[in-house]
């Protein structure tokens, strides 16, 4: 089967084009860098099957970031039959730079100028033949939105596959000094058998650019370039490429059309020096309102549905251990989580809308200064904010963070953000022990959770990465009207993950907890009680009752479970608890709940997103020790004062 690879800058519509061709459902964001790893799809065209590969968006073919490495290795090793370089019609320069780099590396290349509909709307006039002449490649104008040019593109691809004809051969000549060096290196490279698979000119140019991989390869054959020379050459080479692009575009673009006034006017307000932050806060508030207030009737509906289903089953099945397992265990256990599904989908809908329009990069820009202090960037703030709803989507959303260090730190600190599942515990205990001051206590817990997140981020950065700040080199894409299909894809891709978890981890833990709570005999004599009593000595310095310990252990499945375990163990916590523990111990317990082990679902996503059990284990141990230390301090100080 013939293989076609798509290469281009981030956010030029590569993924939309890929979807338009293959019919695949890959979410396309108005946020640079959506394709984290490559995606593949197959399309039949004129009786032939063609495999399409969508590679991550990059700005250059140096093998330094993960994305660049994936793309370059793919082009070098997998050797696709056609490489399609996609550029944005409204802003072709950076894309053409990449085209030049790809052309230096391989032969079977073509160019696609995407978003041609938008260019036309602006009255911009691009001459296809000038581009073909000066770059020596076939050019097709497309629009992934209107579908214009897609058939022509497929025909052109087929043409290159069958005839190997790639228009003409144009080679960009560099400055005299560079060309002389290239000739010299080429001669040496041509004589080495092991370097035959690569184009000598490409290796020579990359060596002059100081490319670490190529230099390493050439070092084996005694070829090296001093650092200070390659720094100079690298600048000269990049400069020449842009000179060439500018000169070609001067001829190819005959009318630039009007400027993008709507985008500018919007930007003026949204990223305003003083209004920027209030607007950002207002937007976040809207996301929360939408997530919790607008969606809560739906949650209530599901809640009612679940309890009715439980009642109905109880009537049908009668009493017995099977009924109890199904109703108390599975339906109530999984139901407690399913209740949050509308909230989760609502939150993704609101955030998807903001991302789709192009607001997220701007929000990151506006609040970057604050995040810089934590050695993070504005982008990770967006993920952390999600954590107030649920830590699972927060961790998942870090996929959009380009820098791997920043991504890992964000994943590891996000469980400290108080998620909505912890709120019921706060409300219950504050209501019993701090009557009249509930709001103040809960507010203090939220503030503490934010401080803990910030401190942890700084600390982890110092320990793991020696405090290097993450650079913020980010492109602000132009605003876009959100497409309904795209928005739905965004919500579904993320939301379905949550549903899958409910059907697996939560379901299993609900069943386990039911068994532990009911065997060999219910309540006091159950395994759950044994478990609590076994671990109780560890928590004795904190002053916790064994039932509280059991609740904490069950709470690792999902933090809401702490409240239901209380209900099961104490019957009526409000009358029983005050006789067992003092207010400082209750406060200590709330802090423990805030900080201790992320729930099972969060641990599972940490494992998949951070890559392996190592970080998930680290997260569990770290949060457990933080929780224990803080709670011990509160209990001890509280007891000393009272």
């Amino acid at each position: 089967m013939s293989i076609v690879a798509f290469v281009g800058n981030p956010n030029v519509g590569k993924s939309s084009l890929f979807n338009a061709i293959t019919g695949a459902r890959q979410y396309v964001a108005n946020w640079p860098g959506v394709t984290v790893s490559r995606k593949e799809g197959i399309r039949r065209w004129r009786g032939r099957e063609i495999k399409f590969v969508d590679l991550p968006g990059i700005y250059s073919l140096g093998a330094i970031s993960i994305d660049e490495k994936i793309t370059r290795d793919y082009l070098l090793k997998e050797s696709p039959d056609v490489v399609v370089v996609v550029v944005d019609a409204l802003n072709m320069q950076q894309g053409l730079y990449l085209l030049i780099e790809v052309l230096e590396m391989r032969e079977n290349v073509m160019l696609v100028v995407n978003a041609i509909d938008e260019a036309k709307k602006r009255g911009m006039n691009i001459n296809k033949y000038e581009l073909e002449k000066h770059f020596g490649v076939h050019v097709v104008f497309t629009s992934a939105v209107t579908g214009e040019g897609i058939e022509e593109l497929l025909d052109k691809i087929l043409h290159i596959i069958t005839t190997k004809e790639v228009h003409s051969f144009v080679e960009l000549t560099y400055q005299k000094e560079i060309e002389e060096k290239v000739k010299e290196l080429e001669k040496k490279i041509e004589n080495i058998e092991d370097l035959k698979p690569y184009k000598p000119r490409w290796l020579a140019l990359k060596a002059l650019e100081g490319d670490p991989e190529v230099l390493n390869l050439l070092k084996k054959f005694g070829i090296s370039i001093p650092d200070e020379e390659s720094k100079k050459y690298k600048e000269m080479i990049a400069q020449r490429r842009y000179q060439y692009i500018d000169s070609v575009l001067k001829e190819a673009i005959t009318s630039f059309g009007q400027k993008l006034t709507i985008s500018e006017a919007l930007d003026h307000v949204i990223t305003h020096k003083f209004l920027g932050i209030p607007i950002f806060l207002a937007m976040m508030y809207l996301v929360f309102t939408f997530t919790f207030n607008v969606m809560s009737p739906l949650s209530d509906l599901i809640d009612i549905g679940i309890s009715n289903l439980g009642e109905w089953l109880r009537n049908v099945m009668g009493s017995g251990w099977v009924t109890s397992l199904v109703v108390d265990g599975v339906i109530n256990g999984v139901g407690a989580v399913l209740v949050f599904v509308p909230n989760i989908f609502g939150m993704f809908l609101a955030l998807g809308f903001m991302e789709e329009v192009g607001y997220l990069p701007r929000a990151a820009f506006v609040i970057d200064k604050l995040m810089y202090k934590l050695k993070l960037s504005g982008r990770s703030f967006m993920s952390l904010i999600l954590g107030f709803g649920c830590n699972v989507p927060a961790v998942m959303s870090t996929r959009g963070i380009a820098d791997p260090r920043e991504r890992l730190i964000t994943i590891l600190v996000s469980p400290f953000i108080t998620c909505s599942a912890r709120l019921p515990i706060y409300i219950l205990l504050a209501g019993i022990f701090f009557k009249g001051h509930e709001a103040a206590v809960i507010f203090a817990l939220y503030i503490s959770s934010i401080i803990l997140t910030a401190v942890s981020a700084t600390l982890l950065n110092k320990i793991l990465f020696k405090g290097q700040p993450v650079p913020l080199v980010m492109e602000l894409p132009r605003y876009r009207l959100p497409g309904f299909k795209n928005l739905w894809l965004y919500v579904w891709e993320r939301g379905k993950h949550f549903l899958e978890k409910a059907g697996t981890i939560i379901l299993v833990s609900a069943i386990i907890i039911w068994f532990l709570g009911n065997y060999p005999a219910p309540a006091d004599k159950s395994f759950a009680a044994d478990l609590g009593k076994f671990f109780e000595p560890i928590f004795r310095p904190l002053g916790y009752d064994w039932r509280m310990v059991t609740a904490l252990i069950f709470g690792t499945a999902a933090k809401e479970v702490v409240v239901s375990t209380f209900q099961m163990m104490y019957g009526d916590p409000a009358s029983v608890l005050p006789n067992l523990i003092t207010p400082p111990v209750a406060l200590s317990f709330m802090f423990f709940v805030m900080a201790y082990i992320p729930c099972l679902a969060t641990i599972a996503v940490i494992k998949t997103e951070a890559g392996g059990w190592k970080w998930a284990t680290f997260s569990v141990l770290y949060s457990l020790s933080v929780a224990y230390t803080i709670s011990l301090l509160i209990s001890v100080i509280g007891r000393a004062i009272l």
């Binding site: 990059i58 700005y59 250059s60 140096g62 330094i64 970031s65 660049e68 409204l90 802003n91 072709m92 320069q93 950076q94 730079y97 990449l98 780099e101 650019e209 100081g210 490319d211 670490p212 720094k231 690298k234 600048e235 990049a238 400069q239 490429r241 842009y242 000179q243 692009i245 006017a265 930007d267 003026h268 307000v269 990223t271 020096k273 003083f274 920027g276 932050i277 990069p361 820009f365 506006v366 609040i367 970057d368 200064k369 810089y372 700040p469 650079p471 913020l472 080199v473 980010m474 492109e475 602000l476």
Partner: protein
Amino acid sequence: MKLSEAAVGTKVKILSVNFPPELQGRILGLGFVPGAIVEVIKEAPFGDPRVYMVHGKMITLRKSEADLIEVKPLSRQFPLSMAEVGKRYIIKSFLGGPFFISRVRSMGIDIGNIIEVRSKFPMTVVVSGKVVRIGMGMAEKILVEEI
């Protein structure tokens, strides 16, 4: 001078780019190459990061990153807030939005007019034959050139 020192609204030409090797390729690829013209578009709250326009793309850089790009001013334009007392300047452009522009126009401040700085702190200027008091924030958004 460094790119980070260029005033908002001004255009500069890049002389050299001195990023560490692991970022250099990406920065050059984005269009920050020697000889390229960069326009300082705007700054974020608290003055950092800033948005730059290079080769048709809007790119954000923090001060720490813009420090690594050596530039020279392209135009002789600078904000009125940096003008000297007693000198006459020609008004070249405005950085504010439509509200700002209509406000300054109503005060007689318009592109092409001659403006003379009488005093700073508070800033008093003579423009279109009138003596006008303006705030520093306003003065930062009026770009002038020496005559």
